[in-house]
């Protein structure tokens, strides 16, 4: 079943800028250094108010001081997830050197994915409301907590009046945001600032997530997130994310900036919340749609960034889905999951994988899967140390706890055929 291409050939969507803020690094260089070396950054959850939770290990951003990157005026009126989005968007725009002033404001849009919203801000205002009364809820609650806050603030700060959107999907939403960016480019936009950032570690946000049996209850960082192994016991929550400048290919070429990668194909399916066995077929179909969309043969995939949930039946389903969709190539292609070193942050999780995929192609190196050693599936999972390679085409996979499956095909600078 072929996804319609039409104008797609004429207007390709390329990545020209990356902005990353993650537990293992603030800024692309720091993120790549830690990711390449497989340095792990999981740690005891130390957010005040979280001491008694059964989830003890998380990936937390340590070296990020929003005040150094964002005006205090904006910090006061936004939640941490938007602080991270504003900072990451800035980094991406700087990286791409997008000539914002030369473009029509209607030609540049913003699309983010958000699955946890402004939880810390919201908890403060809830405390005001129930502790002191309705008149103690401040005016910024109306714009800080909701899922659309980051897209709105990035759009206003940059003067971007183009297509603006927000998908509040679960983990797979990060890939959906990039697919939306690509669609807007097809429909005529010159550039879209796209990605996802999350900050879901505030106490009430964590309490809201404890119902997921997929969350790791392990007490030691080294044993908490071990996908594809017999010790798999769930996933570790994280925070942060990546924003990208996605640009129309011709425009990027005309201004002579390096093309970092092509968003070549996307596929999405749904197989139900926590029905991991069924996600096998769902993920395999999403991969096939994405490959077809990208006009990419399975053998062309040089590296797979796995969803790697860390739940035995989900890991098995993913390994089988890769085999189902890629055939014999599925057991030979290098697979990796850098997120075991810094956790999964809702919609932002796959955006960090996309950033890692772009960097892996650029640096000709497949980063390893931190903490993981003995793999119990038919997968060539890259473990222990980075593996030199020449990946020209990456497949990024993501599944959400509410049942979403998504696959994104990313080609290197050599490009689309």
């Amino acid at each position: 079943m072929s996804v319609s291409r039409g104008a797609a050939r004429a207007r390709g969507a390329v990545v020209t800028g990356l902005g990353v803020i993650a537990p293992n690094g603030v800024g692309t260089d720091a993120f790549w250094k830690a990711t390449r070396e497989g340095i792990s950054f999981l740690d005891r959850l130390t957010r005040p108010g979280s001491e008694n939770f059964p989830v003890r290990v998380a990936g937390q951003i340590r070296g990020f001081d929003p005040a150094t990157m964002i005006e205090e005026r904006l910090l006061v009126q936004t939640d941490r997830f938007t602080h991270i989005a504003l900072a990451a968007a800035d980094l991406a725009l700087e990286d791409s050197r997008l000539p914002v002033d030369d473009l029509s404001p209607f030609a540049v849009g913003v699309v983010t994915a958000a699955g946890s919203g402004g939880g810390e801000f919201g908890q403060r205002e809830l405390q005001q409301l129930y502790g002191k009364g309705p008149r103690h809820v401040g005016p910024f609650q109306s714009i800080a907590w909701f899922y659309a806050a980051s897209t709105g603030q990035v759009s206003i700060r940059g003067g971007f009046k183009g297509p603006c959107g927000v998908v509040a999907d679960d983990e797979a939403g990060g890939l959906d945001a990039l697919a939306h960016a690509r669609r807007s480019i097809r429909h005529g936009a010159d550039a879209i600032v796209a990605g996802a950032t999350e900050a879901g570690l505030a106490p009430y946000s964590m309490v809201c997530q404890l119902g997921w049996r997929e969350l790791s209850r392990a007490r030691e960082a080294g044993r908490a997130y071990l996908p594809f192994t017999t010790d798999a016991c769930g996933f570790v929550p994280g925070e942060g994310g990546a924003m990208f400048v996605v640009e129309e290919e011709g425009a990027a070429r005309r201004r002579g900036v390096p093309i970092r990668g092509f968003i070549s194909g996307y596929g999405a399916t749904f197989t139900g919340a926590s029905r991991w066995e069924e996600s096998r077929e769902g993920l395999a179909r999403a991969i096939r749609v994405a490959l077809d969309d990208a006009q990419c043969a399975p053998e062309e995939i040089d590296v797979v960034f796995a969803d790697a949930l860390g739940v035995p039946e989900a890991d098995r389903a993913e390994a089988l889905a890769i085999a189902d969709a890629l055939g014999p190539h599925g057991t030979r292609v290098p697979v990796t999951a850098p997120k075991t070193g810094f956790g999964r942050a809702h919609c932002a999780a796959p955006t960090l994988d996309v950033a890692a995929a772009v960097l892996a192609m650029e640096h000709r190196m497949v980063p390893p899967t931190p903490y993981v050693t003995d793999v119990c599936h038919e997968l060539d999972l890259v473990t222990r140390s980075p593996r030199p390679a020449e990946p020209r085409c990456a497949l990024v996979l993501s599944r959400g706890l509410m049942g979403y499956n998504a696959a994104l095909v990313l080609r290197g600078p050599e490009g689309d055929m």
């Binding site: 079943m1 319609s4 108010g49 008694n52 939770f53 059964p54 404001p105 209607f106 913003v110 699955g115 946890s116 908890q123 405390q127 409301l129 129930y130 002191k132 009364g133 309705p134 008149r135 809820v137 401040g138 005016p139 609650q141 109306s142 714009i143 909701f146 899922y147 659309a148 806050a149 603030q153 759009s155 206003i156 003067g159 009046k161 183009g162 603006c164 959107g165 927000v166 998908v167 509040a168 999907d169 679960d170 959906d176 106490p203 009430y204 946000s205 309490v207 809201c208 997530q209 404890l210 119902g211 999405a268 399916t269 749904f270 139900g272 919340a273 749609v289 959400g400 049942g403 979403y404």
Partner: protein
């Protein structure tokens, strides 16, 4: 080859109108559903009025498990989706759509599970006494409440959909955008059918308090039935509402092949940001006008062919002025000849849900040739000088209808629907 998209099913849960027949009857009668808040004790709040749904999930056919798992807004969506799928002749058991991998879902919500998130917060924080909340007091499905994706996920489970599923959250344009994205999903050949809509149930203390604090809501507490007064000179803010609507969007040939009835054709969609202010709107309406122009362009329809504008018409001073300016900018002199009404005068402003409810109203208007009125409109405002269809519905043959929306965050969206059976 362009794939055309038609609307083959409708389902609505609106204040004063559970189900499409009751909803349409209410709109055409010009009745209002705004009243004093009953969902909680609002005595200490500035605005104490809302358009609430008298909603009994059991009477609406939901199972005990669906009720336990789902926040109020998801419950609304499940009821609306059931009605829409039945109406379209598409059921999970098989009739209608053949391939579940070609059925998608796209649902919008601005504030998602605000009801349960707030109720459980009270328990785990001992009414705001502690920051280090006690997880042992949380309800069993709080994790579903925390995930806005539970909305589309719940509808997808109900529909037996395995295609692309998404939850859209662009503030008060969520409904238009979710349905617009569904249209694009079918247009791009990623699905043949999309169950698309929106739901929000924001009549909760926190949401009411935050609109209190920015003085966006009406304080006409003594006369709730007449509090929502879009475009009227005496308007004093919007009246919060709640609700859900679901539309079944279907590729034209797919619908024809199974002999489905179409309410209308979905022709065009566009959304832009105003990059101006999170809550403020410009006087000129330039960005909304851009969205209208692009939606018309997408639909290949000239502004002069629009026969009815379904307004955002929230009833705040700035919105109604902004929107009037935007419509005049896009439709020119034709704007003065085109009826433009706001159903928020009757069903309130249900944030993310309202765009879907308004598109359901537009589909019905096209199918019945009747334009719903703006209730409570009495005194003209010199800055709002269009034909707002005061108080009484108007019979009018309609070819093309435009629906617009604005949302916090600067979102400006426009949708064009056309009478079914027209040429490409």
């Amino acid at each position: 080859m362009t794939r055309r998209v038609v609307v083959t099913g409708l389902g609505v849960v609106a204040p004063g109108g559970l189900g499409v027949p009751a909803f349409w009857d209410m709109l055409t009668a010009g009745r209002t559903a705004t009243r004093g808040i009953t969902l909680f004790d609002a005595a200490r709040f500035r605005s104490r009025i809302a358009a609430e749904c008298d909603f009994d999930p059991v009477a609406c056919g939901l199972t005990a498990e669906q009720i336990e798992r789902s926040d109020r807004y998801v419950q609304f969506a499940l009821v609306a989706a059931t009605e829409a799928m039945r109406d379209a002749g598409i059921t999970p058991e098989g009739s209608g759509a053949k391939d579940p991998w070609r059925i998608g879902v796209s649902m919008g919500s601005a504030v998602a599970a605000s009801t349960r998130l707030e109720q459980d917060y009270v328990k785990v924080s001992e009414s705001g006494a502690r920051w280090d909340v006690d997880h042992r007091r949380a309800g069993p499905y709080l994790h579903h409440a925390f995930s806005p994706s539970a909305l589309a996920s719940g509808v997808a489970e109900l529909a037996g959909a395995h295609g692309p599923v998404q939850t859209v959250s662009t503030g008060c344009t969520s409904g238009l955008d979710a349905i617009g994205y569904a249209f694009q999903t079918i247009e791009e050949n990623r699905a043949d059918v999309c169950v698309a809509g929106a739901a929000d149930t924001p009549v909760t203390p926190l949401t009411v308090a935050c609109f209190d604090s920015i003085k966006a809501t009406s304080t006409n507490n003594d006369d709730p039935a007449h509090a929502s007064r879009p475009f009227d000179a005496h308007r004093d803010g919007f009246v919060l509402g709640e609700g859900a609507a679901v539309l079944v969007l279907e590729e034209l040939e797919h619908a024809r092949a199974r002999g489905a009835h179409a309410y209308c054709e979905f022709k065009g969609f566009a959304t832009y940001g105003n990059a101006y202010h999170m809550t403020g709107l410009t006087q000129e309406g330039l960005e909304m006008s851009e969205a209208i122009n692009h939606a018309l362009g997408h639909a290949r329809i000239d502004g002069t062919e629009i026969d009815y504008v379904n307004a955002h018409g929230s009833g705040t001073k700035q919105n109604d002025r902004h929107e009037t300016a935007a419509v005049k900018r896009s439709l020119g002199a034709h704007a003065y000849k085109t009826p433009m009404s706001s159903i928020k005068s009757m069903v309130g402003h249900s944030l993310g849900a309202i765009g879907a409810i308004e598109l359901a109203a537009c589909a019905l208007a096209l199918a019945h040739g009747v334009v719903p009125p703006t209730a409570n409109y009495e005194t003209p405002d010199p800055e709002c000088d269009l034909d707002y269809v005061p108080r009484t519905a108007r019979a009018l043959p309609l070819r093309n209808v435009l629906s617009v929306g604005s949302g916090f965050g600067g979102f400006q969206s426009a949708v064009v629907l056309s009478r079914a059976g027209g040429a490409a």
